[in-house]
């Protein structure tokens, strides 16, 4: 390898780019995705070897033919992903996105069925109601964590179950919402449905645009406001930020309320969507199962390395995989659970992919030792260290 033929300036620029934080997390995410896909391919090989290759390519590229659906299914997981990622920034693990999502969905449904409002306003009120529902369910673990030091992971898991049981009970006992012989909720009045974007054969609606706008707002809040700065500072080092005069209690509660509100919006966006059949809407079946979209949000947040902009892309990617997966099961007889396995493997590897990419970076550095700028690379290892250390408390 004779790298020295390149101009030194260009080379140092390239290595700066390689070692910047964003690039490192992108590389980490791509590495995790690649490993997840390889496992998925092997599962397909075992399940039915003859159509594995065609199945795999369909899984990878099948979603491209149905972009409307990709956007539609990306909306809720984009919101839960933002919720989990936002809490991550402060060092909180919001595993309760599922319960907040369910509660938001219920509040949106309630506003949709029980309140009579003019068409232009009704769906907006329903969305806001969903947000309030999620905020409520995020507030509880936040309050308990901030005041009584109860670990948010356990409380929010318990709240997932409690919320699911409560919502199912409320819905079954409400004659206006529930159709007993369908064991599902009725169709929402059209005034409560979010306007469709009019893509043929797809449910995609205005909410994807709202969701992307919210992600951009969150990016600004995190990077350009005092609150965002305090939040990240608390996430890096709880004790130092407390010493600097930031209120840990207030920020914890506020973060969980916002995270809950984001998940609640996800639930509202999912249930208020008009379906492709004219006049009908999405329905909910109360069968005591915890909402999967909440847990998929964890995958989305990790893949996007908790960056709101990254989360937009990772939500689209996971949704794209999901569409590919449903095509694979329709054409080649593979079961759609393959996608769940791929997603779980991606999360597993993304938990330590950051470290793997640091290791790869070190390998890279050893080759051209002496010409490398030390700065950004040191800050990267510090970042990883900080992440581990804030688990201490």
């Amino acid at each position: 390898m004779r790298n020295s033929t390149f101009s030194p300036k260009l080379k140092s620029q390239a290595s700066m780019l390689m070692k910047s934080k964003g690039m490192a997390s992108l590389a980490a995410a791509l590495l995790a995705i690649a490993l997840g896909l390889i496992v998925g391919f092997f599962v397909m090989l075992i399940a039915s070897p003859e159509s594995a290759f065609n199945g795999f390519t369909t899984m990878l590229f099948g979603g491209l033919g149905r972009l409307g659906d990709v956007f539609y299914f990306a909306t809720p997981i984009l919101m839960t992903g933002l919720s989990v990622g936002f809490a991550f920034k402060m060092g909180l693990f919001n595993i309760g996105a599922s319960g907040q999502y369910t509660f938001g969905m219920f509040f949106a449904l309630y506003a949709g069925f029980m309140w009579e409002l003019p068409p232009g306003i009704h769906w907006i009120v329903c969305i806001l109601a969903g947000m309030v529902g999620g905020m409520l369910w995020g507030f509880i673990p936040g309050l308990l964590k901030a005041t009584l030091n109860v670990h948010e992971v356990i409380t929010s898991i318990m709240l997932n179950y409690i919320g699911m049981y409560l919502v199912d009970m409320f819905i079954i006992n409400n004659a206006k919402m529930y159709v007993p012989n369908m064991t599902r909720t009725a169709y929402l009045p059209s005034s409560a449905q979010i306007p469709s974007l009019g893509v043929p054969n797809s449910n995609v609606n205005l909410s994807i645009i709202l969701a992307i706008a919210i992600a951009i707002i969150l990016f600004v809040v995190l990077n350009k406001t005092t609150f965002g700065y305090e939040l990240k500072a608390t996430g890096y080092n709880k004790h130092a930020s407390k010493y600097a005069g930031m209120s840990d209690t207030k920020n914890t509660i506020l973060t969980m309320i916002i995270a809950g509100g984001l998940s609640g919006l996800g639930g509202a966006f999912a249930i208020l969507a008009p379906s492709a059949i004219a006049g009908s809407s999405m329905t909910y079946e109360p069968i005591n199962v915890i909402a999967a979209n909440g847990f998929n949000g964890i995958a989305v947040a990790l893949l996007g390395s908790s960056n709101p902009i990254g989360i937009i892309f990772s939500a689209l990617f996971i949704s794209h995989l999901g569409r590919g997966g449903s095509l694979v099961s329709a054409f080649y007889g593979y079961k759609p659970e393959i996608i769940d396995i791929v997603i779980a493997v991606i999360i597993y590897f993304s938990a330590f992919a950051m470290l793997m990419s640091v290791a790869v970076g070190k390998l890279f550095r050893k080759r051209n030792r002496g010409e490398v700028v030390r700065g950004p690379n040191a800050s990267l290892t510090n970042h990883v260290k900080g992440k581990n250390e804030n688990k201490e408390a």
Binding site: H151, M158, Y161, Y165, I341, I347, Y348, A351, F352
Partner: protein, 321 residues
Amino acid sequence: MDTIIYLIQNMLPVATPLLLVALGGMFSERSGVVNIALEGIMLFGAFFGCLTVYFIDGTTLNPQIILVIGMLIAALAGILYSMLLSFAAVNMKADQTISGTALNMFIPAVILLFCKMKFNSDGITNHVKFFVKEVPGLSKIPILGPLFFEKTYITVYIGIVLLVISIIIFYKTRFGLRLRACGEHPHAADSVGINVYLMRHSGVAISGFLGGIGGFFYSVGIMDGNVNGHTGVAGFGFLALAVMIFGQWKPLQIFFAALFFAFLRTLAYSVALIPFLSSLNIDQTFYKMLPYVATMLVLIFTSKKSRAPKAEGIPYDKSKR
């Protein structure tokens, strides 16, 4: 009196998996690794245990022998699955909560995929009668006989034996002392020549062993020998974590905490049989939520003074002193 006997008979098979899994969590956390993957480990053990039972059912073996064979396979499966966690947590120094969550998400998908392909259903259904009507001889003892030796599963007795063994290993052996040292102050432990990585791997492996058995016992004692990818173990792995915290990471206290939770759950599912509770006419859903609400309340009252292992959740790095 009949109601009390009924409740206790039904409580013990529920308490056993909670007890074992919480003990597993204790071994893992006292060695310094947060084990949020207990739910997944349980389900993995339950799956392989039930699969084994499915294959050896129909042979002339006694149902109780089948149970023990299933248990051993479940334990082995649990150990293997937990190694994925300890590899991530100890070798790769990954975030332990996240890798645990990934393991929890992985196994239900695997079960659904496998069972849909092989049985065209959501789970494995077995028809082996594990139920013990009465233990010959012992069931004749007044009061104690009907309480502990009638209408039960041998899982309860195995659970008690494992509890005793756990207490001995934890408090009376050199290994137990070293394990606990690694959860409190790994650097100090390392400085006197204890292999922290090995201790943490062992702690997680023991949690896999107990978690796998606990998962299989959940299938036996609560699901009648079946396993299902949709319902899984209904949050028992997480409840076990709460039991462990409530029991302050100590074996005997964990035992009583497990009994307490199991009692609440049994009560919730037998409301119709208790005249007083059924006359109150409260929606069944509230009783189903009871164990989860109780967990929250217990944590609220105990978390302020709870004493978690000091080095829990922090990857051990030799170079960081």
